[in-house]
């Protein structure tokens, strides 16, 4: 039995990029979501039907979902058939397959609003849709064939008046049986000829043919709302040449804001735009962003009816475009507002993707020099197979980097790249790369990973495992006056290290820092940039050193990092003697 909770399903979730990490949305408060209206208030207005039918289907759908369909039943009869078909396009398909139950649920809601509507709405669907809906659940038998059936089989069939046609509902699902009971009751009452015709047609049609046709029609309609094909959706993530844009807007990689504000850059730009633009311009910009988010859905494996994921895609679009704006406008908010108005959101999105891809690519190339398996990850990432790439990270990275750093690396190499925001109850909360500050954080994470690999490579380790423990053991070696070499310690060495006075320990640490600092700065193979400060290095080292101090103070040697685990070098002389 194939399970939904399988490794394959996990790969799919990773592949989409929106769902597999805990992340916080920082822009939702800006009302950047797609437009909605108060439908019940609309009912009280003159020409309510005309107003409702003039709404864009996605706005109507979102509004219905916000207010709850069962609370808006009076709205349903007023919507146009085109709007209803669009809603089915959003909601009644999953992974390219028609979700019959969803359509039946909608039609039942129409029946609750106005009994006759279950018939009229169904009748006015495309013929192919009608057949695709009925076909899988109805077995129709003409009078001649009926006579050939056994008594038992005949008893199972329902009859049209006069025995003109016999049928049975093939499903045991009570909801589906109830739908056909209600639908046929109303339809037979309204139009007997039609009821017979639809059952006869559907019952004799080859299965799935009509659904495949409907799927094609639906895809064509969805493209009008921006829901493009998978391939087109993937192409939006492709990097572009930034030379022209950089020249046009005078971008240089600096910002005055990154270190002075906690608000995202886009928040500041939108606040300015909402004060200085006329509302229709802001609405136009919002609509274009919503359209772009729709276009990303296919790549992100989001069904158009999944409003929560749609909101997440929109949040990512605004966030990444915030990064692009900050970079293009060099941190100038007025300039950024101008760019936001002038440039298409897709151009901004691709600008951000290009900035990030540059770093991600460099990072992978460097990781590959330390971890050969990274080449498989790189190949999958180049093909935008994020799910497979992240699965391989789980396999190859966790044992080297530990679970936290692996998670942070996976988030960077996600379809929608993210950086760590904070931790909450032991879980990492990420945030989108919405600013140059976040882009710096992304680079820091990569450099931390590379620096640790570089440090371990200095110890001539044959195998890359548990980098942190590896580095910490080498640190202790230096603190004891030896080389930066990873070897298991003898009990005597551990006792000496434990009994070091505070002064001696501080002095040993200073020596350690300056030695490693010098070594790493002189060898920049780990660094992604020639101009980086050593902050990343120092912060990673401090973290490891703090861990060591904790171990020293608490005496949890064995449990925490196998300081004195039996190893090939345990019998050798101490490092101090080596030195």
């Amino acid at each position: 039995m194939a399970s939904r909770l399988s490794e394959e399903s996990l790969v799919r979730v990773y592949d989409g990029g929106l769902q597999a990490f805990r992340w916080e949305a920082r822009l939702s408060a800006l009302a950047l979501r797609s437009e909605t209206v108060d439908l019940l208030a609309m009912l009280t207005l003159e020409k309510a039907q005309e107003r409702i039918q003039s709404l864009a289907p996605q706005v109507l759908y979102r509004s219905l979902m916000n207010q709850g369909v069962s609370d808006c039943l009076e709205i349903l009869p007023l919507m146009s058939q085109e709007q209803f078909i669009a809603i089915l396009d959003y909601e009644a398909w999953a992974d390219g397959e028609l979700q019959h139950r969803k359509v039946f649920q909608w039609l039942q809601q129409f029946r609750e609003a106005d009994r006759e509507q279950i018939y009229t709405r169904f009748r006015d669907l495309e013929e192919e849709m009608q057949i695709a809906l009925v076909g899988p659940f109805i077995r129709a038998v003409d009078p001649e064939d009926f006579e050939q059936l056994s008594d038992e089989e005949q008893d199972r069939l329902e009859s049209f008046p006069g025995g003109a046609l016999y049928y049975e509902v093939k499903s045991e699902d009570p909801e589906i049986r109830q739908f056909f009971a209600d639908f046929l009751e109303v339809t037979m009452g309204e139009n007997m000829e039609y009821a017979m015709s639809v059952l006869a047609h559907a019952g004799f049609m080859p299965p799935n043919e009509q659904e495949a046709l409907m799927s094609q029609f639906r895809n064509a309609r969805m493209e009008d709302d921006g829901f493009v094909t998978y391939e087109e959706s993937l192409s939006i993530f492709h990097p572009i040449s930034l030379d022209m844009l950089q020249k046009k807007w005078g971008a240089h990689n600096k910002t005055a804001l990154a270190s002075t504000t906690k608000e995202s850059f886009m928040q500041l730009v939108i606040t300015l735009a909402s004060k200085s633009w006329d509302p229709s311009t802001l609405n136009e910009v919002r609509s274009r962003h919503a359209y772009l988010a729709n276009a990303l859905c296919s790549a992100a494996r989001v069904d158009p009816g999944d409003l929560e994921s749609l909101d997440k895609a929109l949040e990512q679009v605004w966030s990444l475009n915030g990064l692009a704006l900050e970079w293009l406008a060099s941190g100038n908010i007025e300039q950024a507002a101008l760019i936001l108005r002038e440039e298409h959101p897709k151009t901004l999105f691709q600008t951000a993707c290009t900035l990030i891809e540059g770093l991600r690519h460099k990072g992978l190339k460097k990781l590959e020099t330390f971890i050969p398996e990274t080449s498989f990850i790189r190949t999958n990432l180049e093909l935008q197979k994020f799910g497979l790439a992240q699965k391989q990270m789980d396999i190859h990275f966790v044992k080297i980097f530990g679970s936290e750093l692996t998670e942070r690396l996976k988030a960077i190499y996600s379809r929608f790249p993210m950086v760590m925001s904070h931790t909450h109850e032991g879980k990492i909360i990420f945030r989108p790369v919405d600013s140059l500050d976040a882009l710096d954080a992304l680079q820091d994470t990569l450099e931390t990973a590379l620096m640790k690999l570089q440090l371990v490579s200095m110890t001539h380790a044959e195998e890359l495992t548990e980098l942190d423990a590896h580095i910490q053991r080498s640190m202790v070696s230096v603190q004891l006056g030896g080389h930066f070499i990873n070897r298991f310690l003898t009990q005597n060495q551990v006792d000496t290290w434990r009994s070091m006075s505070n002064e001696a320990y501080t002095e040993a640490n200073e020596k350690l820092y300056s030695g490693l600092d010098e070594l790493l700065i002189s060898d920049r193979r780990w660094s992604l940039s020639d101009n980086r400060k050593t902050d990343t290095l120092m912060s990673a080292l401090s973290e490891l050193a703090a861990g060591l101090t904790f171990i020293k103070d608490q005496g949890h040697f064995d449990a925490l990092f196998n300081l004195i685990e039996a190893g090939p070098n345990q019998e050798e002389d101490s490092y101090a003697q080596d030195e």
Partner: protein
Amino acid sequence: MPKMNNEKLMASEIAELTHILDRKHAASLGDRFFSIKVDSDESKAFVTVTLRNAQESFYYPVEGRIACKSQELSPKDGAMLLLDFIDVYFEEFFHDRQDTWLPIDWAGFNFEGFEFELKGQVLNKRTEELADLFLDGKINRDEIISALK
């Protein structure tokens, strides 16, 4: 359908399934997480998937039970069927802005041709615990307010 057997879900498999469930819905969980409990014998399987936070101020156990033997399912397949359906349910729960609810008492469902029952109710165990302490006279009103902050 493979030949029927009495295979059950192992603890390691349950841990892996919990991890997958947590990961599949990670972006929607906030401070909450899933836990899975499976209890089965050759005739039936009973599964509880609980979505909760550490304080248990949000505590949502979704319980399912299925008659395995009579439907020619192994206890493991029966439990997996319930877990799959509960996963479908939570998918819908999150998609519909966490506004899709199950009956609070056992109710019949049908999935992939099999019949089973489910129930679920969101509880605030933190508040309930405080209420009990208050009724027992162990804490006062101010302490409740400060505990809920």
